[in-house]
């Protein structure tokens, strides 16, 4: 065979090997990433984990509603809008609460958690008042 051709094939073989190694490393990297994420998250305090669970629940409810709308159609559009936005809204407010209650957050160390919780309740009250009005 032509020496250049030999060189080319060996070069391509090296490339394929390198790509395989990279893929293996990315998958192993991904595994390492997920593991480190899990260990880091396990270290968060319980009250924050409860808030996170609430956020996830709200988002899942919103997704269910969107899927339902996709199946059934969006006829009372205001009801759909108020339903989805109430889930998204309470999730957002819960995230804000989490930010304010998190002990690692330097900006909010002077804020007593009771005040944060009271603000959260107030904002939720307003949100749900509007939702009830808009639900139709």
């Amino acid at each position: 065979m032509h020496p250049l051709g030999l060189y080319l094939t060996s070069f391509s073989y090296q490339e394929i090997e390198k790509k395989l190694r990279m893929a293996k490393s990315t998958s192993s990297d991904a595994q390492m990433l997920i593991r480190s994420l899990r260990t880091a998250y396990a270290a968060t305090p319980t009250n924050l984990k409860i808030i996170d669970l609430y956020v996830v629940y709200a988002i899942v409810t919103a997704v269910i509603q969107v899927v339902y709308m996709g199946v059934v159609g969006s006829f009372p559009f205001n009801s759909f809008l108020s339903g989805v936005l109430s889930c998204v809204g309470t999730a957002v407010l819960a995230v804000c609460l989490r930010i304010q209650v998190n002990k690692e957050n330097k900006e909010f160390k002077d804020l007593p958690p009771e005040r944060a919780y009271a603000d959260f309740i107030l904002c939720n009250l307003v949100l749900h008042l509007v939702i009830m009005n808009f639900l139709g």
Partner: protein, 788 residues
């Protein structure tokens, strides 16, 4: 301990005194804002001005008489005959609800003010509120001194006065207050990170959506600012708390208002807020992950996410763009498009282009409307950058965007006014800060030892040491601001520059941030000059309020050699209509006068200032441009009984219907092609003298304006167009004149009923042949007059 207690005593006393003084000043600012807008009530009377306020007044009357449920469900059949108008769903209810609740509150306290009085004085009351809101906003950005200065500037700025005099009962009267208050609550939330203020912010935004269509400015400016903060690396959890609840609550609250409804989620004006909502969640998530992972793992996570996320987001954005691009206007409403592209309205929507408020402003109007602030604003921008905080970057962004929009439309100078006042307040306050500090620190030295020319260095360096000891908020900004000052005081220019160079050397030698101290005489003169500048501003504002912006435009005055002439023709005509026609008679006029006719004359009109139906307006415009018989046919088909025409030729009133005639032709010709504008033009101009085209001399507008005009002075000289008219002696065949006001400004004509017997050639019954022939003709040649 004793020393600190001692120093605390006088300082707390001084703080308390300062606080009381501040409250007193705020009170005076409110009184000033209220009273400077009362010129029209003093010079004329307590009456509603212009055109749009009459509609708001009529709606408020209905609200106070019938209660809120009837108001929400009101279908108005006395305008846009025969279409009617759904008032509940097409009006911004904020202003009427505010005035209605004020009236209700006062009446329940047994203070029997009439609805008209409450409506007339709503605007001055809310301008006082707006001044206080400006104080709060500027206090959040820069401090109390800047706040007070900005508040007093806003209380008097002519641009805001022009839309909020006593009697100008329009949306902007409460909307500017809502705008500034919403911005204040946003900045407060940004500064404190409190969810309580975020809730209040959403509620204030709701009030703004209720009040004015300009709320889209807020819902686009705040996302722009959030994006700016993220891009400049200023993301913080306070930003998330300030923005995310506002978007969700704000969208919901905006959809509650019937006028906005589902537009809050479906029009392009709101998409920016949703996009930035998604972006801020992504950024927040990234920061969270960065916080809990080690740096190496974070890099791995980033590469993974970027590759996957990029593919997904490209797909989503492609779908989204396809969706938006498929609609003809790309999802934007006509008004927003005309703001973004200043040439859009003149090409596609002649009605928007025809309103004089929608024209671009000229340079003199900037100096008329914001006067001295026009060149204090750049100084304020620089003061905002030293140091740059979230709040000051927001105010700079607000100013820049409002300057652009004010350049598109004169009407939006109003949105520029608060921004200009805030910036100028900051600039003036910083300047006063530097000068008074210079005087304060150098005064004891001057009193102790007399000044020596060579000693100036030591004096200033001693003063600088004091300055750096006393105040820990370093202000290198004052250095730069004071550099702006010398550019305006030519006499002291060289002296100050030399002193600054001398002072800069010792300041650079030490790393501590020093406060700039200027020489004593320069500071004293500068303070005096700034006060004189303020004096010029006040004089101009009071003059503008008294002379330029207080005219109620329903009553006109002029000073002739024999005293004051009052032209009350409009109300005369409306009163005549009210007393001499049947309740169900329809009145046709150009759309400018629709609101006033329904409010004051209480008669059904064909088109009014809402201008929501272009074809209907084009119908009226065509009728005004057609010869008498064709116009009679059109008006008869609309059940019109009376036609109202405004004519200024006898007294020289320039805003009459003949001057507006070109819009009637253009709008009518835009929908009905048999009206061709060149038919009315001679050498590219509209003329009514002997050189006018026959089409012009035969059209209804000409005839109704100049019927019997020759009887006034024998020569029929039109004072507005400054020529004698072309056709002087003519009779009206299909209309009869029923009323002309004292100065011939409003002329009312009645449609003559069709003749009983038709002399001459017997005409075939028109209905069958007309429909068949018009159908046939429409298929072939669309240029034919649809009414014949």
């Amino acid at each position: 301990m004793a020393a600190t207690a001692e120093t605390k005593g006088p300082s707390t006393l001084r703080n308390a005194f300062g606080g009381v003084l501040g409250v007193f000043i705020l009170l005076l600012i409110g009184v000033l804002a209220f009273s400077i807008r009362l010129f029209s009530v003093i010079k004329y009377e307590s009456v509603i001005h212009e055109f749009d306020p009459y509609f708001n007044y009529r709606v408020t009357q209905y609200l106070t008489k019938n209660g809120i449920y009837d108001f929400w469900n009101w279908f108005d059949d006395r305008t846009w005959y025969p279409l009617g108008r759904v008032i509940g769903g097409t009006v911004y209810p904020g202003l009427t609800l505010t005035a209605g609740s004020m009236w209700w509150l006062l009446n329940s306290l047994n203070i029997p003010l009439s609805v008209e009085t409450v409506c007339v004085f709503t605007a001055p009351i809310f301008s006082a509120n707006a001044a206080w809101a400006t104080f709060l906003l500027t206090k959040e950005v820069k401090g109390t001194g800047a706040g007070l200065t900005a508040a007093v500037l806003l209380a008097m700025v002519p641009s805001y006065i022009s839309r909020s005099v006593a009697g100008s009962y329009d949306n902007e009267a409460v909307a500017i207050f809502a705008l500034v208050f919403t911005f204040y609550l946003y900045i407060k939330t940004l500064n404190t990170g409190s969810l309580f203020y975020a809730t209040l912010n959403a509620l204030s935004y709701f009030y703004m959506v209720c009040s004015w269509g300009g709320y889209t400015f807020i819902i686009n400016l705040i996302p722009m600012h959030v994006l700016l903060c993220i891009l400049t690396g200023r993301y913080s959890s306070r930003l998330y708390i300030a923005y995310a609840p506002l978007v969700v609550l704000g969208t919901l609250l905006a959809s509650l208002v019937p006028v906005v409804g589902f537009n809050a989620v479906m029009t392009s004006e709101h998409f920016a807020s949703f996009l930035v909502f998604i972006i801020i969640h992504v950024v927040a998530f990234i920061y969270y992950i960065k916080g809990i992972l080690s740096p190496k793992m974070f890099k791995v996570a980033m590469t993974l996410v970027v590759t996957i996320g990029l593919a997904v987001s490209c797909a989503v954005i492609a779908i989204f763009i396809a969706l938006v691009a498929s609609s003809p206007t790309k999802g934007w409403s006509g008004r927003s498009l005309s703001l973004l592209d200043p040439t859009y309205a003149s090409k596609y929507i002649p009605i928007i282009a025809s309103v004089s408020e929608h024209q671009p402003p000229t340079w003199p109007s900037y100096f008329m409307d914001i006067n001295v602030l026009a060149f204090l604003v750049p100084a304020g921008i620089i003061a905002c950058f030293l140091p740059l905080s979230d709040a000051s970057s927001f105010v700079v962004l607000y100013l820049v965007t409002s300057v652009y929009f004010s350049g598109v439309m004169v009407r939006l100078m109003l949105v520029l006014a608060p921004a200009a006042c805030i910036m100028s307040g900051i600039a003036l306050s910083e300047a006063f800060d530097v000068f008074t500090r210079s005087i304060k620190l150098q005064l004891p030295n001057i009193l102790d030892n007399p000044p020596d020319a060579g000693d100036m260095n030591s004096v200033s360096s001693i003063a600088q040491n004091d300055a750096s000891k006393i105040d820990s908020h370093a202000t290198t900004k004052s250095e730069t601001v004071s550099k702006e000052r010398p550019s305006r005081k030519n006499r002291k220019k060289e002296k100050e520059k030399e002193k600054e160079n001398v002072e800069k050397v010792p300041s650079h030698s030490e790393n501590k941030k020093r406060l700039l101290v200027l020489p004593l005489e320069a500071s004293a003169v500068a303070i005096l000059l700034l006060i004189v500048l303020g004096g010029f501003y006040v004089v101009h504002c009071v003059w503008a309020a008294a002379e330029a912006y207080s005219a109620p435009s329903i009553v006109l005055t002029s000073y002739a050699h024999d005293g004051l002439h009052v032209f009350d023709d409009f109300r005369e005509a409306y009163a005549w209509l009210r007393h001499n026609t049947d309740v169900d008679d329809k009145v046709a006029s150009w759309w400018d006068y629709g609101y006033q006719t329904t409010a004051m004359a209480n008669r059904t009109v064909i088109v009014d200032n809402n201008t929501w139906n272009n074809t209907h307006i084009a119908t009226v415009g065509t009728a005004m441009s057609s010869p008498e018989k064709a116009a009679w046919e059109i008006f008869n088909s609309l059940d019109v009984k009376y036609v109202l025409v405004v004519f200024g030729g006898l007294v020289g009133y320039p805003s009459d219907d003949i001057n507006k005639f070109l819009w009637m032709v253009r709008i009518g010709g835009g929908v009905f092609p048999h009206i061709r504008e060149p038919d009315y033009l001679r050498d590219g101009q509209y003329r009514i003298d002997a050189q006018a085209t026959p089409t012009m001399l035969n059209c209804l507008m000409y005839k109704l304006s100049y019927y019997r005009f020759v009887e006034t002075d024998g020569k029929a000289f039109d004072r507005v167009r400054r020529t004698e008219i072309g056709k002087k002696y003519f009779k009206l065949t299909h209309f009869e004149e029923v009323f002309t006001t004292h100065h011939w400004m409003v002329r009312i004509y009645k449609l003559k009923p069709p003749k009983n017997r038709i002399r001459g050639k017997l005409k075939k019954p028109k209905s069958s042949s007309k429909s068949s022939s018009s159908n046939h003709k429409r298929a072939g040649n669309t240029q034919k007059n649809p009414w014949q």
